[in-house]
Symmetry: C2
Subunit: 337 residues, 2 copies
Amino acid sequence: MAEFIKDGSIRLTNGVSAYSYAAAVGKMEGEGPLGDCFDYVASGAEIGEDTWEKSESKFQQYALEMALNKSGLQKSDLSIIFAGDLLNQCTGSAYGLRDSGVPFIGLYGACSTMAESLMLASLFADMRLGERFAAITSSHFCSAERQFRFPINYGGVRPPTSQWTATAAGCCITAAAEKPPYIKAVTVGKITDMGIKDANNMGAAMAGAAYDSLSRHFENTCSSPDDYDGIFTGDLGQVGTDILCELFDKRGVDISRVHNDCGLMLYDREKQDVHAGGSGCGCSASVLCAHILPSIAGGKLHRVLFAATGALMSTTMSQQGESIPGISHVVEIADTL
Amino acid sequence: MAEFIKDGSIRLTNGVSAYSYAAAVGKMEGEGPLGDCFDYVASGAEIGEDTWEKSESKFQQYALEMALNKSGLQKSDLSIIFAGDLLNQCTGSAYGLRDSGVPFIGLYGACSTMAESLMLASLFADMRLGERFAAITSSHFCSAERQFRFPINYGGVRPPTSQWTATAAGCCITAAAEKPPYIKAVTVGKITDMGIKDANNMGAAMAGAAYDSLSRHFENTCSSPDDYDGIFTGDLGQVGTDILCELFDKRGVDISRVHNDCGLMLYDREKQDVHAGGSGCGCSASVLCAHILPSIAGGKLHRVLFAATGALMSTTMSQQGESIPGISHVVEIADTL
């Protein structure tokens, strides 16, 4: 039975596998460095739907269906789906999974949603509160831009600190331990506010949350960066990554040797004009499901931390002069039980 | 250890108390039939803040602080907070709980959030994944109207099927069993779409979800309406209540003897102009925390179902011609272990 350590950290003790996983992405993400890893790459951003929001829902459906298919599962094999996304009222999930017929727990963690959903799906699997659980999330560049900033047709100039919301969805199905990757421990994030008010500088807004959650995970599980061969934040981009490394440096801890950020992995910033990097729930979700988990299953990585980061940003609150709170949940994944 | 039954239903077996609970409401809710039950009634809708959104956050803070104070607890006694609300990006919760320093799991279940958060807080308590867990949610008439319908200054005419979003917040803290009320079982909701496209007829949009979840709870726990002395949905209002009873009638099941709806309990519809009843996350949350749980603790109720209902409504998706999906989670609460 999972064991509460302290201050948000919980160790899984019954054994839980990331049993099946898949990612569906848009054309631009398919042209990036991880292009060959994805289960589905769309020819554009619409995939047969007449709106961006409906397209985002369809990316979620594709990710779920492919994760199921890869393991010969049906939707009816799932006990609970944990899902959320960036759209107001999390409609990417609600409409994408509306017809699934599976018990549904809706989440809001902004771009931290892949870690939040995987954390819950893993704890429920560890507790055997069902047989299989799906963690799903998505984002879409066009639906996010018009909701959070400007309609893309407006052609607003994006500042250098801005990040590119990924058009992507990821799904990871958890179950009682059967094969690696195994979920080993989690640390629940705390809302952390760095005082950043610029909606085009989310990396800075989230760096403090990643620092807090990773620090607590190290301390509570008696581990250090040297115990991992990969610490993946997402999506801090370049600005947030620099701040995170600086925060650890100040404490005399060097994470740079094993750290990478999903927002820096999804795109080729030399060739693709994404400024400070990728972002959006789908960014860390697709990097997790198409690169990190397969690398662990394939023996290339052995023990990693996945720390998706979310900016709990709202246009309404920004207009009222408020800063942007961040949150980051940590999931520890390894190739041995 | 909690036992998975089937199809979304889970029985708690280690013993969990609704340990402390409180509700903070606005002036109008304080003038309703439950006015004397609330822990805090504001003199207006703003409570010292200059925007409705910030006021909503403050109602959440008040509900949390009063639930803590009533049991002599500090924020640092909480292991995890589960919270969400109706505002885009769930800012009622994010900003209301930003300074709590407590590990935070953000939820989106629209007006079902009190049941969703209580369900998770109860399962985590049953699993002993910490010591105490808070389930919190809120809504605010003015912030919801301008987000989902019209700015209130516009003075739009509200149709008879419309419901009045409660200005209210509720908080329930769960812990290992110590005293009644006890949380006994839960049923996770499924997204259910009745094809309703009218954002002023949410009761109809949610009735099918309540019917589905309650039906599964009865079947999976081998119980019937006669086994309960209270089945509280929320917030179906009059229109949704009539549909729910009709759906059960068609199957030869009479729930009307023990059924009540939080949306019909919060206001005096003869004297208060709320049309089809109350709604909003805060409606069922405040009725639960100020009336239902105290009634169980006081021996007036013995075994109840709390089935908060949410309309996963989005102005964007309504504008794209989509219908409104609903969801309802069920929490069974009793005065004996």
